[in-house]
Amino acid sequence: MDFPEDLFYTKTHEWAKKEGDNKARIGITSHAQSELGDVVYVELPALDRIVKAGGTCTVVESVKAAYDIYSPVSGKVLETNNDLESNPQLVNEDPYGKGWFFIIEMEYPQELTKLLSNEDYEELCQAK
């Protein structure tokens, strides 16, 4: 299982990557996609939607069930990964790369520091 060092993680298995001063790219972790199994549908948030840290912002569907995705940080949705509409399996194949979900313009970039480091997150996954 992969836990890249340059990402921030949530207890609910999302990752956030800081891009520039106030943007963050969001996705779900490799551990999360493995637990979900085949991802068959990602309901992406609307552009310009305001999301709150810890609030539900989108839904991922696997063959078995639907799962809520929580935004790691607060802000406005700037961009969504439209490739997921036709290729939702990118979430399984490349969760930290081509399987990203959306980019947020962060309201409070310091929220990132409240998230888990890769080491803390790895520990959380192994403790389950």
């Binding site: 199994g37 085949d38 569907e61 063959v63 078995k64 639907a66």
Partner: protein, 367 residues
């Protein structure tokens, strides 16, 4: 998962194969080995091997066997040939479904009920309520394992493992066969909508049989398949799942399996209630539907029509074959008959769906 969980003889094999294990009605069972979609597709195009040893087996033997069986089940086995199986509900006095089973008729003095694992104890107790002195009822579920080989290549695999004679079985026929040291009962049955076989084997020989099947089936691309694929396969085929789609609060008439209720035979449990229901009409009816757009129906989603709730989804999934959401459920009868467009309420939004016939997919070979 608790200590009270039951395991099939193949539990360690599943763990070694790195299966994702789930608690299924107290049994620790493989949900998937690689991925539900790839296992599903392997069964549709080649063949899959399932451990379904959690299923229960209750054997009824004796001079009074046929009489007892005819009373318990709604289907009619009086004219069923020896060594043939049949699908049937078991109903209570109100016509509610206690279980849906496959009954194996060896001869008029011996039958085997293959029952849902969650219902084994309940069924055994129910059947014993009507036991007569001239029958013996034995729950052999803890001694018998069950493997299923399903898919278009399954006949080729069975030829190699169990011999040519098994391939001559027609749909729902079964036979006893000896392979090496193993005493097997082989039937041409399954829960996937594909051609396939189910093989009953003693617990002590179950792992050997599994390994032989996988080894000899290798060239036919036989792969282990878990309960996840079993569920998507059965739903595409339009088969009901006890506990989801049917239970004691539903009758076979409402569930779309009225063909398994034989009113022409002598008395059986639930007959009066079912006759009354048939005469006065059903309120709700089984319905199958296919989503017209994205959105995947799930158990307990509401079915709506012009903002009115007209029913409820009992099973729903993403169909790996059709690559769209499919589901089954119950709606007020007139909506089932109208074949109108309906909506499925998914996360408080309405998604359009079309009522369709089952099976959802075209099966090339219905035996």
């Amino acid at each position: 998962m608790t200590d009270s969980n039951k395991k099939t003889p193949l539990y360690d094999v599943h763990v070694d194969l790195r299966a994702k294990i789930v608690d299924y009605h107290d049994f620790l069972m493989p949900l998937q080995y690689s991925s539900i979609i790839s296992e599903h597709k392997c069964v549709r195009s080649n063949a899959g091997l399932f451990d379904i040893s959690h299923m229960g087996e209750i054997v009824i033997v004796g001079k009074g066997a046929t009489e007892l069986v005819q009373k318990i089940i709604t289907n009619d086995v009086s004219n069923l040939p020896d060594y043939k199986a049949a699908y049937t509900p078991i109903c209570d006095e109100e016509g509610g479904i206690i279980d849906d089973i496959v009954i194996f008729k060896y001869n008029p003095d011996k039958y085997m009920f293959v029952v849902n694992c969650a219902n084994t104890k309940k069924d055994n107790k129910w059947i014993n309520k009507f036991k007569t002195d001239n029958v013996n009822i034995n729950d052999l579920s803890d001694q018998i394992s069950l493997l299923a080989v399903q898919g278009p290549r399954s006949e080729d695999i069975m030829r190699l493992v169990c011999g040519e004679e098994c391939t001559a079985l027609s749909r729902f026929k079964f036979m006893e066969v000896t392979v090496g040291e193993m005493q097997l009962t082989v039937s041409r049955t399954g829960y996937t909508g594909e051609d396939g076989f189910e093989i009953f084997v003693g617990n002590s020989q179950c792992v050997d049989l599994w390994n032989i099947l996988l080894e000899k089936g290798k060239d036919m691309n036989l792969k282990p398949a878990g309960l996840g694929a079993r569920d998507t396969l059965r739903l595409e085929a339009g088969y009901l799942l006890y506990g989801n789609d049917i239970d004691e609060f539903v009758t076979p008439l409402e569930a779309g399996i009225g063909w398994t209720v034989k009113f022409n035979k002598a008395d059986f449990i639930g007959k009066d209630s079912l006759l009354r229901l048939k005469k006065y009409g059903l309120k709700r009816m089984f319905v199958a539907f296919k989503m017209l757009d994205k959105g995947i129906p799930r158990t307990d989603n509401e079915i709506t029509h012009h903002d009115n709730v007209v029913g409820k989804v009992t099973s729903g999934t993403f169909s790996p074959s059709l690559e769209i959401g499919i589901g089954i459920g119950y709606v007020l009868k007139r909506f089932a008959e109208s074949k109108d467009q309906i909506n499925i309420k998914i996360r408080s939004a309405d998604y359009p769906a079309q009522i369709v016939d089952t099976p959802f997919i075209t099966l090339d070979k219905e035996r």
